[in-house]
Protein backbone atom coordinates (compact mmCIF):
# COMPACT_ATOMS: atom_id res chain seq x y z
CA UNK A 1 0.00 0.00 0.00
CA UNK A 2 1.47 3.31 -1.08
CA UNK A 3 0.22 6.90 -1.05
CA UNK A 4 1.32 8.38 -4.38
CA UNK A 5 0.70 11.18 -6.84
CA UNK A 6 -0.47 10.35 -10.35
CA UNK A 7 -1.03 12.48 -13.44
CA UNK A 8 -4.03 12.27 -15.72
CA UNK A 9 -2.35 12.14 -19.13
CA UNK A 10 -5.29 11.55 -21.38
CA UNK A 11 -9.08 11.66 -21.13
CA UNK A 12 -11.20 9.67 -23.60
CA UNK A 13 -14.97 9.52 -23.80
CA UNK A 14 -15.88 5.87 -24.37
CA UNK A 15 -19.66 5.76 -24.36
CA UNK A 16 -22.48 7.81 -22.81
CA UNK A 17 -21.81 6.18 -19.44
CA UNK A 18 -18.07 6.26 -19.02
CA UNK A 19 -14.78 7.93 -19.87
CA UNK A 20 -11.29 6.47 -19.69
CA UNK A 21 -8.41 8.25 -18.00
CA UNK A 22 -4.84 7.28 -18.74
CA UNK A 23 -2.81 7.74 -15.59
CA UNK A 24 0.95 8.07 -15.23
CA UNK A 25 1.44 6.32 -11.90
CA UNK A 26 4.09 5.28 -9.44
CA UNK A 27 5.57 1.97 -10.59
CA UNK A 28 4.04 0.12 -7.64
CA UNK A 29 0.58 0.98 -8.94
CA UNK A 30 1.42 -0.07 -12.48
CA UNK A 31 1.64 -3.64 -11.17
CA UNK A 32 -2.12 -3.71 -10.76
CA UNK A 33 -3.84 -7.05 -11.42
CA UNK A 34 -7.49 -7.81 -12.20
CA UNK A 35 -9.50 -7.22 -9.00
CA UNK A 36 -7.23 -4.53 -7.60
CA UNK A 37 -8.10 -0.87 -7.51
CA UNK A 38 -6.97 2.60 -6.44
CA UNK A 39 -8.28 4.96 -3.76
CA UNK A 40 -8.21 8.42 -5.24
CA UNK A 41 -8.55 11.97 -4.07
CA UNK A 42 -8.84 14.57 -6.81
CA UNK A 43 -8.94 17.79 -4.73
CA UNK A 44 -5.48 19.25 -4.11
CA UNK A 45 -4.09 18.52 -0.68
CA UNK A 46 -3.73 21.39 1.81
CA UNK A 47 -2.68 21.39 5.46
CA UNK A 48 -4.39 24.76 6.10
CA UNK A 49 -7.93 24.63 7.52
CA UNK A 50 -10.48 25.92 5.07
CA UNK A 51 -8.28 25.48 2.03
CA UNK A 52 -9.08 21.93 1.08
CA UNK A 53 -12.29 21.20 -0.73
CA UNK A 54 -14.14 18.42 1.12
CA UNK A 55 -16.56 17.83 -1.70
CA UNK A 56 -16.44 14.88 -2.00
CA UNK A 57 -15.23 13.98 1.46
CA UNK A 58 -13.93 10.42 1.32
CA UNK A 59 -11.65 8.97 -1.31
CA UNK A 60 -13.17 7.39 -4.40
CA UNK A 61 -12.44 3.87 -5.53
CA UNK A 62 -11.13 3.95 -9.09
CA UNK A 63 -11.08 0.74 -11.13
CA UNK A 64 -8.34 0.08 -13.65
CA UNK A 65 -9.59 -1.52 -16.84
CA UNK A 66 -6.30 -1.91 -18.65
CA UNK A 67 -2.63 -1.00 -18.92
CA UNK A 68 -0.90 0.87 -21.69
CA UNK A 69 2.92 0.98 -21.42
CA UNK A 70 2.85 1.28 -17.62
CA UNK A 71 0.05 3.82 -17.83
CA UNK A 72 -2.99 2.66 -15.91
CA UNK A 73 -6.30 3.17 -17.67
CA UNK A 74 -9.22 3.70 -15.30
CA UNK A 75 -12.89 3.94 -16.12
CA UNK A 76 -14.88 6.78 -14.57
CA UNK A 77 -18.45 7.97 -15.03
CA UNK A 78 -18.98 10.70 -17.59
CA UNK A 79 -20.16 14.03 -16.26
CA UNK A 80 -17.17 14.63 -14.04
CA UNK A 81 -14.61 16.89 -15.62
CA UNK A 82 -11.00 15.73 -15.58
CA UNK A 83 -8.18 17.69 -17.17
CA UNK A 84 -5.13 16.22 -18.87
CA UNK A 85 -2.18 17.26 -16.74
CA UNK A 86 -4.22 17.19 -13.55
CA UNK A 87 -2.34 15.77 -10.56
CA UNK A 88 -4.31 13.46 -8.31
CA UNK A 89 -3.57 11.53 -5.17
CA UNK A 90 -3.78 7.76 -5.61
CA UNK A 91 -3.40 5.15 -2.89
CA UNK A 92 -2.99 1.53 -3.82
CA UNK A 93 -3.02 -1.19 -4.61
CA UNK A 94 -6.27 -2.13 -2.90
CA UNK A 95 -7.32 -5.73 -2.46
CA UNK A 96 -6.29 -9.07 -3.81
CA UNK A 97 -6.03 -10.18 -7.45
CA UNK A 98 -8.90 -12.38 -8.54
CA UNK A 99 -8.12 -16.05 -8.03
CA UNK A 100 -8.74 -17.61 -11.42
CA UNK A 101 -8.80 -21.36 -11.71
CA UNK A 102 -5.75 -22.99 -13.22
CA UNK A 103 -7.70 -24.84 -15.90
CA UNK A 104 -9.87 -22.05 -17.12
CA UNK A 105 -11.58 -22.06 -20.50
CA UNK A 106 -14.74 -20.03 -20.15
CA UNK A 107 -15.43 -17.10 -17.85
CA UNK A 108 -18.75 -15.39 -17.37
CA UNK A 109 -18.74 -11.75 -16.27
CA UNK A 110 -22.09 -10.52 -15.01
CA UNK A 111 -23.02 -6.88 -14.35
CA UNK A 112 -26.37 -6.43 -12.62
CA UNK A 113 -27.66 -2.85 -12.48
CA UNK A 114 -24.08 -1.59 -12.42
CA UNK A 115 -21.57 -0.75 -15.10
CA UNK A 116 -19.22 -3.74 -15.51
CA UNK A 117 -16.26 -1.45 -14.75
CA UNK A 118 -14.83 -3.46 -11.85
CA UNK A 119 -14.71 -6.62 -14.03
CA UNK A 120 -13.17 -5.22 -17.18
CA UNK A 121 -9.54 -5.49 -16.12
CA UNK A 122 -9.95 -9.26 -16.41
CA UNK A 123 -10.64 -9.10 -20.13
CA UNK A 124 -7.14 -8.40 -21.54
CA UNK A 125 -5.70 -10.90 -19.07
CA UNK A 126 -8.18 -13.66 -19.90
CA UNK A 127 -8.04 -13.17 -23.65
CA UNK A 128 -4.26 -13.12 -23.48
CA UNK A 129 -4.45 -16.50 -21.78
CA UNK A 130 -6.86 -17.81 -24.41
CA UNK A 131 -9.83 -17.90 -22.08
CA UNK A 132 -13.23 -17.22 -23.65
CA UNK A 133 -15.09 -14.31 -22.05
CA UNK A 134 -18.84 -13.74 -21.99
CA UNK A 135 -20.08 -10.46 -20.60
CA UNK A 136 -23.70 -10.43 -19.44
CA UNK A 137 -25.36 -7.09 -18.82
CA UNK A 138 -28.68 -7.11 -16.96
CA UNK A 139 -30.94 -4.43 -15.56
CA UNK A 140 -29.66 -0.91 -16.06
CA UNK A 141 -26.31 -2.42 -17.11
CA UNK A 142 -27.92 -3.14 -20.51
CA UNK A 143 -27.43 0.55 -21.28
CA UNK A 144 -23.65 0.19 -21.13
CA UNK A 145 -22.09 0.58 -24.59
CA UNK A 146 -19.51 -2.15 -25.35
CA UNK A 147 -18.08 -0.99 -28.69
CA UNK A 148 -14.69 -0.39 -27.06
CA UNK A 149 -14.33 -3.99 -25.84
CA UNK A 150 -12.31 -6.50 -27.87
CA UNK A 151 -14.47 -8.25 -30.47
CA UNK A 152 -13.62 -11.63 -28.93
CA UNK A 153 -15.82 -10.80 -25.92
CA UNK A 154 -19.30 -12.20 -26.33
CA UNK A 155 -21.80 -9.67 -24.99
CA UNK A 156 -25.27 -10.81 -23.90
CA UNK A 157 -27.87 -8.32 -22.80
CA UNK A 158 -30.93 -8.91 -20.66
CA UNK A 159 -34.00 -6.95 -21.53
CA UNK A 160 -34.26 -3.75 -19.54
CA UNK A 161 -37.49 -3.46 -17.62
CA UNK A 162 -38.96 -4.22 -14.29
CA UNK A 163 -36.54 -5.38 -11.64
CA UNK A 164 -37.82 -8.97 -11.22
CA UNK A 165 -37.39 -9.62 -14.91
CA UNK A 166 -33.93 -8.19 -15.29
CA UNK A 167 -32.08 -11.22 -13.96
CA UNK A 168 -32.86 -12.93 -17.24
CA UNK A 169 -30.59 -13.04 -20.28
CA UNK A 170 -30.43 -15.09 -23.47
CA UNK A 171 -29.26 -18.72 -23.11
CA UNK A 172 -29.14 -18.35 -19.37
CA UNK A 173 -28.88 -22.03 -18.44
CA UNK A 174 -26.31 -22.66 -21.14
CA UNK A 175 -24.03 -19.81 -20.17
CA UNK A 176 -24.18 -20.71 -16.50
CA UNK A 177 -23.39 -24.34 -17.18
CA UNK A 178 -20.65 -23.67 -19.64
CA UNK A 179 -18.73 -21.18 -17.48
CA UNK A 180 -15.84 -22.38 -15.32
CA UNK A 181 -16.00 -19.27 -13.20
CA UNK A 182 -18.45 -16.41 -12.83
CA UNK A 183 -17.61 -12.91 -11.56
CA UNK A 184 -20.48 -10.63 -10.69
CA UNK A 185 -20.84 -6.92 -9.92
CA UNK A 186 -24.09 -5.45 -8.67
CA UNK A 187 -25.44 -1.97 -7.92
CA UNK A 188 -24.06 -0.30 -4.80
CA UNK A 189 -27.55 0.17 -3.37
CA UNK A 190 -27.71 -3.18 -1.59
CA UNK A 191 -24.96 -5.56 -2.57
CA UNK A 192 -25.94 -8.18 -0.04
CA UNK A 193 -29.52 -8.45 -1.27
CA UNK A 194 -28.48 -8.40 -4.91
CA UNK A 195 -25.74 -11.01 -4.50
CA UNK A 196 -28.24 -13.19 -2.67
CA UNK A 197 -30.57 -12.97 -5.67
CA UNK A 198 -27.73 -13.85 -8.02
CA UNK A 199 -26.81 -16.83 -5.87
CA UNK A 200 -30.42 -18.01 -5.79
CA UNK A 201 -30.60 -17.65 -9.56
CA UNK A 202 -27.51 -19.77 -10.14
CA UNK A 203 -28.87 -22.35 -7.73
CA UNK A 204 -31.85 -22.69 -10.07
CA UNK A 205 -29.71 -22.59 -13.23
CA UNK A 206 -27.32 -25.37 -12.17
CA UNK A 207 -27.82 -28.64 -10.34
CA UNK A 208 -25.12 -27.64 -7.90
CA UNK A 209 -23.15 -24.43 -7.48
CA UNK A 210 -19.62 -25.63 -6.72
CA UNK A 211 -17.12 -23.78 -4.57
CA UNK A 212 -14.67 -21.52 -6.35
CA UNK A 213 -17.23 -20.91 -9.12
CA UNK A 214 -19.47 -17.92 -8.38
CA UNK A 215 -17.74 -14.79 -7.10
CA UNK A 216 -19.22 -11.50 -6.05
CA UNK A 217 -16.94 -8.53 -6.63
CA UNK A 218 -17.86 -6.23 -3.75
CA UNK A 219 -17.53 -2.49 -4.08
CA UNK A 220 -19.10 -0.87 -1.03
CA UNK A 221 -18.39 2.72 -0.04
CA UNK A 222 -15.05 2.55 1.74
CA UNK A 223 -13.81 4.74 4.56
CA UNK A 224 -10.14 3.82 4.92
CA UNK A 225 -9.57 1.21 2.21
CA UNK A 226 -6.55 -0.22 4.01
CA UNK A 227 -7.99 -2.58 6.61
CA UNK A 228 -8.09 -0.10 9.49
CA UNK A 229 -11.69 0.98 9.99
CA UNK A 230 -13.51 -2.35 9.56
CA UNK A 231 -16.33 -0.61 7.71
CA UNK A 232 -16.13 -3.21 4.98
CA UNK A 233 -16.13 -6.28 7.20
CA UNK A 234 -18.21 -9.21 5.98
CA UNK A 235 -18.95 -12.48 7.68
CA UNK A 236 -18.04 -15.78 6.11
CA UNK A 237 -19.70 -19.03 7.02
CA UNK A 238 -16.52 -20.72 8.10
CA UNK A 239 -13.61 -18.35 8.28
CA UNK A 240 -15.09 -15.49 10.36
CA UNK A 241 -14.69 -11.84 9.37
CA UNK A 242 -13.03 -10.72 6.19
CA UNK A 243 -12.34 -7.18 5.05
CA UNK A 244 -13.45 -6.38 1.51
CA UNK A 245 -10.75 -3.76 1.02
CA UNK A 246 -8.00 -6.17 2.05
CA UNK A 247 -9.15 -9.73 1.47
CA UNK A 248 -11.60 -8.83 -1.31
CA UNK A 249 -12.93 -7.47 -3.52
CA UNK A 250 -14.04 -10.94 -4.70
CA UNK A 251 -15.61 -13.49 -2.41
CA UNK A 252 -17.07 -16.87 -3.28
CA UNK A 253 -20.81 -16.27 -2.83
CA UNK A 254 -21.19 -19.83 -1.48
CA UNK A 255 -18.96 -19.00 1.49
CA UNK A 256 -20.72 -15.78 2.44
CA UNK A 257 -22.83 -15.58 5.56
CA UNK A 258 -25.61 -13.22 4.45
CA UNK A 259 -27.48 -13.92 7.74
Amino acid sequence: MKDTLAIIERVRRINPQVQHLELAVDESLAKVKPGQSLLVRVAPFSPTPGEENWHPYLREQWWPVGLNNNKVIVERPTGIRYEPGQVINAMGLLGQPLRFRRTLRNVLLLAYNSTPTALLMTIPWLLGNKVAVTLVLVGSATEYGTQHLPPEVEVLRGSPGKEEKTLIWPNQVLTAGWADQVFVVVAADDERLRFQRVLELFQTLRKDVPKNYLFGVFQPMLACGVGACWCCAVTQKESGHKLICQDGPAFDLMTMDFK
Binding site: E52, Y57, D189
Partner: protein, 302 residues
Protein backbone atom coordinates in the same frame (compact mmCIF):
# COMPACT_ATOMS: atom_id res chain seq x y z
CA UNK B 1 7.02 14.22 27.56
CA UNK B 2 3.32 14.97 27.90
CA UNK B 3 1.41 13.49 30.81
CA UNK B 4 -1.91 12.36 29.50
CA UNK B 5 -3.20 10.64 32.62
CA UNK B 6 -3.64 11.90 36.15
CA UNK B 7 -0.56 11.46 38.33
CA UNK B 8 -0.11 8.07 39.99
CA UNK B 9 1.27 4.65 39.44
CA UNK B 10 1.54 3.63 35.79
CA UNK B 11 0.93 7.20 34.70
CA UNK B 12 1.21 7.50 30.94
CA UNK B 13 3.53 10.08 29.37
CA UNK B 14 3.84 10.42 25.62
CA UNK B 15 6.48 11.82 23.31
CA UNK B 16 3.85 13.48 21.17
CA UNK B 17 0.40 14.87 22.02
CA UNK B 18 -1.04 13.43 18.80
CA UNK B 19 -2.60 10.02 18.30
CA UNK B 20 -5.26 8.54 16.05
CA UNK B 21 -8.66 7.82 17.53
CA UNK B 22 -9.92 4.31 18.07
CA UNK B 23 -11.17 2.88 14.80
CA UNK B 24 -8.76 4.86 12.68
CA UNK B 25 -5.53 2.85 12.60
CA UNK B 26 -6.96 -0.61 13.16
CA UNK B 27 -4.90 -2.77 15.52
CA UNK B 28 -1.57 -1.35 14.40
CA UNK B 29 -1.11 -3.43 11.28
CA UNK B 30 -2.77 -1.07 8.79
CA UNK B 31 -0.97 2.06 7.51
CA UNK B 32 2.44 0.88 8.68
CA UNK B 33 3.93 1.40 5.25
CA UNK B 34 2.35 4.86 4.90
CA UNK B 35 2.53 6.53 8.31
CA UNK B 36 5.66 6.82 10.43
CA UNK B 37 4.28 5.58 13.76
CA UNK B 38 7.29 6.92 15.64
CA UNK B 39 6.03 10.50 15.52
CA UNK B 40 2.72 9.53 17.16
CA UNK B 41 2.10 9.63 20.88
CA UNK B 42 0.41 6.26 21.14
CA UNK B 43 -1.54 3.63 19.26
CA UNK B 44 -5.19 3.52 20.28
CA UNK B 45 -6.54 0.20 19.07
CA UNK B 46 -9.82 -0.40 17.31
CA UNK B 47 -12.69 -1.10 19.73
CA UNK B 48 -12.57 -4.50 21.39
CA UNK B 49 -15.26 -6.31 23.34
CA UNK B 50 -14.83 -9.19 25.75
CA UNK B 51 -16.72 -11.48 23.41
CA UNK B 52 -16.66 -11.47 19.60
CA UNK B 53 -19.06 -9.16 17.72
CA UNK B 54 -20.27 -9.44 14.14
CA UNK B 55 -20.32 -6.50 11.73
CA UNK B 56 -23.51 -4.45 11.40
CA UNK B 57 -25.79 -5.19 8.50
CA UNK B 58 -26.79 -2.79 5.74
CA UNK B 59 -24.99 0.25 4.40
CA UNK B 60 -21.92 1.12 6.43
CA UNK B 61 -20.58 4.30 4.90
CA UNK B 62 -22.84 7.14 3.79
CA UNK B 63 -21.31 10.09 2.00
CA UNK B 64 -22.60 13.50 3.05
CA UNK B 65 -21.72 17.04 2.11
CA UNK B 66 -18.24 17.48 3.61
CA UNK B 67 -18.59 14.47 5.86
CA UNK B 68 -19.92 10.97 6.24
CA UNK B 69 -21.93 8.69 8.48
CA UNK B 70 -20.26 5.41 9.37
CA UNK B 71 -22.25 2.49 10.77
CA UNK B 72 -20.08 -0.50 11.58
CA UNK B 73 -21.52 -2.10 14.62
CA UNK B 74 -18.57 -3.32 16.62
CA UNK B 75 -17.04 -6.12 14.60
CA UNK B 76 -14.12 -7.69 16.44
CA UNK B 77 -13.01 -11.21 17.27
CA UNK B 78 -13.17 -10.62 21.04
CA UNK B 79 -10.46 -9.68 23.54
CA UNK B 80 -8.64 -13.02 23.73
CA UNK B 81 -8.25 -13.40 20.01
CA UNK B 82 -7.20 -9.78 19.59
CA UNK B 83 -4.50 -10.18 22.24
CA UNK B 84 -3.29 -13.44 20.77
CA UNK B 85 -3.10 -11.99 17.30
CA UNK B 86 -1.60 -8.56 18.00
CA UNK B 87 0.40 -8.91 21.25
CA UNK B 88 3.70 -9.45 19.45
CA UNK B 89 3.14 -6.58 17.05
CA UNK B 90 2.28 -4.22 19.90
CA UNK B 91 5.41 -5.19 21.81
CA UNK B 92 7.49 -4.33 18.79
CA UNK B 93 5.81 -0.98 18.06
CA UNK B 94 7.87 2.11 18.96
CA UNK B 95 5.01 3.64 20.98
CA UNK B 96 2.66 2.87 23.89
CA UNK B 97 -0.49 0.90 23.14
CA UNK B 98 -3.88 2.01 24.49
CA UNK B 99 -6.50 -0.70 24.16
CA UNK B 100 -9.97 0.64 23.40
CA UNK B 101 -12.45 -1.44 25.33
CA UNK B 102 -16.15 -1.02 24.58
CA UNK B 103 -18.15 -0.60 27.77
CA UNK B 104 -20.66 -3.37 27.20
CA UNK B 105 -21.52 -4.71 30.67
CA UNK B 106 -19.79 -4.20 34.02
CA UNK B 107 -19.12 -7.92 34.16
CA UNK B 108 -17.41 -7.99 30.77
CA UNK B 109 -15.48 -4.84 31.57
CA UNK B 110 -14.27 -6.39 34.83
CA UNK B 111 -13.12 -9.52 33.05
CA UNK B 112 -11.46 -7.54 30.30
CA UNK B 113 -9.63 -5.27 32.73
CA UNK B 114 -8.32 -8.24 34.70
CA UNK B 115 -7.10 -9.75 31.48
CA UNK B 116 -5.38 -6.55 30.36
CA UNK B 117 -3.80 -6.01 33.80
CA UNK B 118 -1.44 -8.93 33.15
CA UNK B 119 -0.78 -8.00 29.54
CA UNK B 120 2.58 -6.26 29.12
CA UNK B 121 1.86 -5.24 25.54
CA UNK B 122 -0.93 -2.90 26.69
CA UNK B 123 -0.04 0.35 28.48
CA UNK B 124 -3.50 1.71 29.18
CA UNK B 125 -7.19 1.13 28.61
CA UNK B 126 -9.54 3.52 26.88
CA UNK B 127 -13.11 2.74 27.80
CA UNK B 128 -15.81 3.54 25.23
CA UNK B 129 -19.22 4.44 26.59
CA UNK B 130 -22.57 3.98 24.93
CA UNK B 131 -24.43 7.15 23.93
CA UNK B 132 -27.31 8.08 26.24
CA UNK B 133 -25.61 6.34 29.14
CA UNK B 134 -26.64 7.66 32.56
CA UNK B 135 -24.05 9.03 34.99
CA UNK B 136 -24.75 6.04 37.26
CA UNK B 137 -24.14 3.50 34.51
CA UNK B 138 -21.01 5.32 33.43
CA UNK B 139 -19.72 5.37 36.99
CA UNK B 140 -20.36 1.66 37.33
CA UNK B 141 -18.52 0.77 34.11
CA UNK B 142 -15.51 2.92 34.97
CA UNK B 143 -15.36 1.46 38.48
CA UNK B 144 -15.52 -2.02 36.98
CA UNK B 145 -12.36 -1.28 35.01
CA UNK B 146 -10.50 0.72 37.66
CA UNK B 147 -11.02 -1.96 40.31
CA UNK B 148 -9.38 -4.63 38.21
CA UNK B 149 -6.38 -2.91 36.75
CA UNK B 150 -3.69 -0.54 37.91
CA UNK B 151 -3.13 0.62 34.37
CA UNK B 152 -4.62 4.02 33.58
CA UNK B 153 -8.27 3.82 32.54
CA UNK B 154 -8.94 6.58 30.05
CA UNK B 155 -12.60 7.18 29.19
CA UNK B 156 -13.94 8.35 25.86
CA UNK B 157 -17.13 10.31 26.42
CA UNK B 158 -20.00 10.37 23.93
CA UNK B 159 -20.32 13.94 22.61
CA UNK B 160 -24.03 14.25 23.30
CA UNK B 161 -23.72 13.36 26.98
CA UNK B 162 -20.24 14.63 27.77
CA UNK B 163 -21.37 17.33 30.21
CA UNK B 164 -23.84 15.06 31.94
CA UNK B 165 -21.51 12.16 32.66
CA UNK B 166 -18.06 13.77 32.94
CA UNK B 167 -18.16 14.28 36.70
CA UNK B 168 -19.36 10.76 37.41
CA UNK B 169 -16.60 9.36 35.23
CA UNK B 170 -13.89 11.41 36.95
CA UNK B 171 -15.24 10.48 40.34
CA UNK B 172 -15.14 6.80 39.41
CA UNK B 173 -11.40 7.07 38.84
CA UNK B 174 -10.89 7.81 35.16
CA UNK B 175 -7.27 8.74 34.43
CA UNK B 176 -8.11 10.91 31.40
CA UNK B 177 -11.21 12.07 29.56
CA UNK B 178 -11.24 11.78 25.79
CA UNK B 179 -13.72 14.40 24.56
CA UNK B 180 -15.43 13.18 22.54
CA UNK B 181 -16.49 10.15 20.49
CA UNK B 182 -17.98 11.24 17.15
CA UNK B 183 -21.61 12.32 17.47
CA UNK B 184 -24.21 9.84 16.34
CA UNK B 185 -26.38 10.85 13.43
CA UNK B 186 -28.67 9.72 10.66
CA UNK B 187 -27.93 10.33 7.00
CA UNK B 188 -29.63 9.26 3.81
CA UNK B 189 -27.63 6.90 1.66
CA UNK B 190 -28.02 8.05 -1.91
CA UNK B 191 -27.55 4.59 -3.37
CA UNK B 192 -30.10 2.73 -1.30
CA UNK B 193 -32.40 5.62 -0.43
CA UNK B 194 -32.26 4.47 3.19
CA UNK B 195 -31.67 6.44 6.35
CA UNK B 196 -28.58 5.08 8.06
CA UNK B 197 -27.67 5.77 11.68
CA UNK B 198 -24.04 5.79 12.71
CA UNK B 199 -21.19 8.07 13.63
CA UNK B 200 -20.78 11.43 11.98
CA UNK B 201 -17.35 12.51 10.71
CA UNK B 202 -16.42 15.77 9.02
CA UNK B 203 -14.90 19.21 9.59
CA UNK B 204 -18.12 20.58 11.11
CA UNK B 205 -17.74 18.23 14.08
CA UNK B 206 -14.80 20.36 15.14
CA UNK B 207 -16.62 23.47 16.39
CA UNK B 208 -19.18 21.39 18.28
CA UNK B 209 -16.67 19.17 20.05
CA UNK B 210 -14.20 22.01 20.57
CA UNK B 211 -16.72 23.98 22.58
CA UNK B 212 -17.40 20.96 24.78
CA UNK B 213 -13.67 20.61 25.44
CA UNK B 214 -13.39 24.35 26.17
CA UNK B 215 -16.10 24.15 28.77
CA UNK B 216 -15.12 20.86 30.36
CA UNK B 217 -11.55 22.13 30.68
CA UNK B 218 -12.88 24.82 33.01
CA UNK B 219 -14.31 22.39 35.50
CA UNK B 220 -12.48 19.05 35.16
CA UNK B 221 -9.15 18.59 36.93
CA UNK B 222 -7.80 15.51 35.14
CA UNK B 223 -6.17 15.60 31.70
CA UNK B 224 -8.45 16.00 28.70
CA UNK B 225 -7.75 14.70 25.23
CA UNK B 226 -9.56 16.60 22.48
CA UNK B 227 -11.09 14.67 19.60
CA UNK B 228 -13.47 15.35 16.77
CA UNK B 229 -13.25 16.93 13.36
CA UNK B 230 -9.50 17.57 13.30
CA UNK B 231 -8.46 17.92 9.66
CA UNK B 232 -5.36 20.12 9.85
CA UNK B 233 -2.62 21.12 12.31
CA UNK B 234 -4.41 24.31 13.36
CA UNK B 235 -7.51 22.28 14.27
CA UNK B 236 -5.40 20.19 16.64
CA UNK B 237 -3.84 23.34 18.10
CA UNK B 238 -7.31 24.68 18.73
CA UNK B 239 -7.98 21.78 21.10
CA UNK B 240 -4.72 22.42 22.94
CA UNK B 241 -5.62 26.08 23.25
CA UNK B 242 -9.04 25.08 24.56
CA UNK B 243 -7.38 23.15 27.36
CA UNK B 244 -6.67 19.65 26.06
CA UNK B 245 -3.23 18.11 26.72
CA UNK B 246 -3.38 15.93 23.62
CA UNK B 247 -5.60 15.15 20.65
CA UNK B 248 -7.01 12.22 18.74
CA UNK B 249 -7.28 12.61 14.99
CA UNK B 250 -9.95 10.67 13.16
CA UNK B 251 -11.39 10.60 9.63
CA UNK B 252 -8.78 12.80 7.95
CA UNK B 253 -6.40 9.87 8.40
CA UNK B 254 -8.54 7.80 6.05
CA UNK B 255 -8.50 10.59 3.50
CA UNK B 256 -4.89 11.76 3.89
CA UNK B 257 -2.94 9.29 6.03
CA UNK B 258 0.06 11.61 5.94
CA UNK B 259 -1.97 14.39 7.57
CA UNK B 260 -1.84 12.48 10.86
CA UNK B 261 1.93 12.61 10.66
CA UNK B 262 1.93 16.27 9.61
CA UNK B 263 -0.24 17.16 12.60
CA UNK B 264 1.97 15.16 14.95
CA UNK B 265 5.11 16.91 13.68
CA UNK B 266 3.45 20.31 13.82
CA UNK B 267 2.23 20.08 17.38
CA UNK B 268 5.64 20.25 18.93
CA UNK B 269 5.35 24.04 18.43
CA UNK B 270 3.68 26.35 20.90
CA UNK B 271 0.19 27.71 20.61
CA UNK B 272 -0.73 31.17 21.73
CA UNK B 273 -3.76 33.37 21.56
CA UNK B 274 -3.97 37.04 20.84
CA UNK B 275 -4.08 39.16 23.91
CA UNK B 276 -7.13 41.31 24.47
CA UNK B 277 -6.71 44.62 22.65
CA UNK B 278 -3.85 43.45 20.47
CA UNK B 279 -4.18 43.49 16.73
CA UNK B 280 -3.62 40.21 14.91
CA UNK B 281 -0.45 41.39 13.28
CA UNK B 282 1.02 42.27 16.64
CA UNK B 283 0.72 38.62 17.50
CA UNK B 284 1.78 35.44 15.89
CA UNK B 285 1.84 31.74 16.76
CA UNK B 286 5.08 30.48 18.22
CA UNK B 287 5.66 33.37 20.61
CA UNK B 288 4.55 33.75 24.18
CA UNK B 289 2.87 31.37 26.56
CA UNK B 290 0.46 28.62 25.68
CA UNK B 291 -2.99 29.57 26.79
CA UNK B 292 -4.22 26.17 27.84
CA UNK B 293 -2.53 26.60 31.19
CA UNK B 294 -3.61 30.21 31.58
CA UNK B 295 -7.14 29.22 30.79
CA UNK B 296 -7.29 26.39 33.24
CA UNK B 297 -5.79 28.40 36.05
CA UNK B 298 -7.56 31.70 35.43
CA UNK B 299 -11.27 32.44 35.65
CA UNK B 300 -13.66 31.18 32.96
CA UNK B 301 -13.31 33.48 29.95
CA UNK B 302 -17.00 34.18 29.56
Amino acid sequence: MIDITRPGKNMLSLNSPVMAASGVLGFGDAYRDIINFEVLGALVTNPVTYEPYSPAGGMRVVHLDAGCVVHTGMPNPGLSKVLAKYRDLWTMLPLPVILHLVGTTPEHVRKSASRVEVEDAVNALELGLNDDITPEEAHQLVRAAVERTEKPVMVRLPLQDAYAIADAVVEAGAATLVVAAPPRGTGRDKFSGQLVTGRVYGPLVLPIALRVVERLAQRINIPLIGAGGIHAPQDARDYIEAGAVAVQVDAVTWIHPKMLEIIARDLSGLVVTREVGALPDEWYPGIGETTSKMKREGPPPE
